[in-house]
Point group: C2
Chain length 474, copies 2
């Protein structure tokens, strides 16, 4: 398994494809555009999912499960929504040995099926707010697949809520956006930018879409998740009427918000290096790998005992530990193996270490080789893991900031987008015609941010309405 | 929401349909044969799932995710398997706006896609055993849907493993069967019978299928999950070759095992009563509901404070508590509401209770109304919850045993199956011809058990090979 990775600074795309498979995060599948998420990749997703699920529940949402297959006519009820999704759906036309009277689509997202249920459940103002979340798989036919980042099938959570007022709905949209931003920062060690999508980039059927965007090491932006204030047309299309406190007929205000297995791809693309993955400790399935340094034909029992005891103590302390005691591999081969898999901390324990009541600790970032006393090993390892986590966030923030450019005119920065990719902050008059001009450089508006450092639009002579970030994106 | 439930002993089927919706475990969906699992039902599933996931991981399996959509040709590679599943699959023929060259089936189970990956992953004896689990949704077109018990789409886990020897594979099959039996007993409070399926009832493509069967209150059996030793034909069909320790080409031995959202239905059908659900505390989303007894226009602050403190203390003790402080409902309406939802323990706290430093505890089984001192409330409530859990298992065991009949000849017990449904233990020569005769009574063999109390077959004059349980089933 001696993979020579492409150089990350020379060919980032090739590096990414290679490391995803080499580190066994995923494997190619026989199904077009779909991947198999292998145990190591799935374990990262489980850690992200569990933290996100806690936040979703702590903010008052309840999980539920809605059907995978949706009658085609439901998708058509909201005009913008069907226009956005119809081209990418997979359609079931036959089932149970017969042709179906009405085709069923495999859900690309669940607004329409969930809204049809909301219409049954919301009868009175007492039924609001209604705050539901679903963990599910969805299918969107994908022409340019890339593992985790863009796959025909992906796993996600989709929150769907209904509220009595627009203000309350907007508060919900922002609350969940903030939960995502915090999760990205504090667990994935990714400093994201949050903002509002331009009209052209909105979710089909939304009144306003908030996004949080990460900057990958190649200077390309990645939309890491979104939170939508939906238009009221969904509520009208599904006749979601209720009686308000004054006895009048009213329609609720709806939101939806989601994050996907793409987050695994973001972790890989933000932190990896030429040795392979670099995992932030908080989402690392293995936080500490212990490699016993033993010699064939000698009495290694003292080392083996010490390793078992230390592993046990660290596990009891809530640290995810793996002991690599394979006999057919050299320590060097093991170091290489776990470095490629991004394990944050390696402990090496040989006879001399045991005699000195210490272990050798090596972190994945090369902060320095340390000797740690066994007596307080839990504290020392926890400290080191925190240091790795903090360093990763600081490093990612520095990298992002170094690729965050400010420029007044597209004519100036447009040509740079290729050689010097990154976030380009500029002013915008908010017109689609000006936005259209970015296409020439194969870039897009990523989000409108709440600064106003530019007085004029990047493309025309009109005043700028707000700053916008422009970038090439995945 | 004043639901008058059908009498459980008069019309069990109607009672079941009604309580599932009345207690808001599920709702009907616009998709044929599919349900919406509502938050309360989903929370029960989450508790079952989390306990099962712990057991699956503790026995050395790793979670992964495989594609939902499977090329049709893959299903056809194993002859028995396709024969079993082809009639019930949903087929995607169009996607991304075009007709597909090869149709994709929505997975009814994932043997074929997972085995195709196993063939890539297993190269050497060092790659064995390979022990994978997947939490997923599957679709099997269903003609007679019943919520949770039989739905077109359901949620489940499916374990898939590969081993070097048949003995090791069989050990795996039995290990996981035992995990299921323990889970049913210790969490769901359901005393199941484990045994081997007759040839006619085997999983399509298995060499041997183990099952665990519960007996519902109406005397019908429910297959609650299965564990299969697969035939070697899967390994051959997918060219799952590897090099064994002697350097020879070998094929691994495969297993698969699964349990589904049907378990939620089993809990409802085994424990419910005329007041509604009765949930075993270990799978109850709300273990304790606290109802403050307050009066309008009075100073209720002492009660409200005491309720908040007790709820907080119980939560810190790991107990799932809900405080019903709705102002628009009487205590009586709240009692009714939470009884129907099967909450195991209710605490009532009024001004006199606070003055006496105690609360009134009422359990869902009617074991008796008790006054509990507030000082040691955590211990008292834990004790009561354990008592409810134990009583439920004892009661379910007694009910099952009272409906477990022994009879030598089909001519005797066949006619009784309608009026006196239950498990009928008898002897069997193992011939399909004799098994066929049970059909007349709309019953089936449920499983072969490892006793041999009968010397002759229930249908012919030949000697019995083993005892078998016969029942009407869901």
């Amino acid at each position: 398994m001696d993979h020579k990775l492409p150089d990350i600074s020379q060919d980032f795309a090739a590096w990414y494809q290679e490391i995803v498979y080499a580190a066994q995060l995923a494997d190619q599948s026989p199904v077009r555009g779909s991947i198999v998420i292998m145990p190591y990749g799935y374990a990262i997703w489980e850690l992200i999912r569990d933290r996100l699920d806690e936040r979703i529940k702590a903010t008052g949402h309840q999980n539920a499960a809605f059907p995978l297959l949706i009658p085609e006519s439901y998708l058509k009820r909201e005009a913008e929504h069907v226009e956005g999704f119809a081209p990418e759906v997979a359609v079931v036309t036959h089932a149970g040995g017969k042709e179906l009277e009405e085709a069923l689509i495999v859900r690309p997202t669940s607004e329409v099926i969930i809204h049809s249920m909301f219409a049954r459940w919301i009868r009175s103002w007492r039924d609001l707010p209604l705050k539901i979340n679903q963990w599910a798989n969805v299918v969107r036919w994908e022409m340019r697949p890339r593992p985790f980042v863009r796959t025909t099938e992906f796993l996600w959570q989709e929150g769907h809520t209904a509220h009595a007022t627009k203000e309350e709905a907007l508060e919900e949209v922002l609350t969940m956006l903030n939960e995502y931003v915090d999760l990205a920062r504090n667990y994935l060690a990714i400093p994201v930018v949050a903002g509002i999508k331009a009209e052209s980039e909105k979710f089909p059927g939304a009144e306003r879409t908030y996004t949080f965007e990460g900057l990958m090491q190649d200077g390309k932006a990645l939309q890491m998740g979104t939170s939508h204030l939906l238009s009221q047309s969904f509520a009208h299309s599904f006749e979601m009427k209720y009686q308000d406190q004054n006895g009048n007929v009213a329609y609720p205000w709806l939101t939806s918000w989601g994050a996907t297995t793409r987050l695994v791809g973001a972790v890989v693309m933000v932190h990896g290096d030429n040795k392979g993955l670099v995992l932030p400790p908080r989402v690392a399935p293995i936080q500490v790998v212990i490699v016993p340094i033993v010699r064939k034909g000698q009495d290694n029992s003292a080392v083996i005992d010490a390793v078992a005891k230390i592993a046990d103590r660290l596990k009891k302390h809530g640290i995810r530990v793996h002991v690599d005691d394979q006999e057919n591999l050299t320590p060097g081969a093991k170091f290489y193996h776990w470095e490629m898999r991004g394990v944050p901390v390696r402990l090496e324990i040989g006879p001399r270490d045991v005699a000195n009541n210490c272990v050798v600790a090596v972190d994945r970032l090369g902060l320095g080789k340390e000797s740690l006393g066994i007596d307080r090993i839990e504290d020392a390892v926890t400290h080191l893991l925190n240091r790795v986590q903090d360093t990763l966030l600081a490093r990612a923030t520095e990298r992002r900031d170094s690729k965050w450019y400010k420029a007044a005119k597209l004519a100036d920065f447009g040509p740079k987008l290729d050689e010097q990719p990154g976030f380009y902050q500029t002013g915008w008059c908010n017109s689609p015609a000006c936005e259209e001009k970015i296409k020439e450089f194969k870039a897009t508006t990523r989000c409108i941010i709440d600064t106003k450092e530019f007085s004029q639009c990047f493309a025309c002579d009109k005043p700028s309405v707000h700053d916008v970030l422009i970038a090439k994106a995945y």
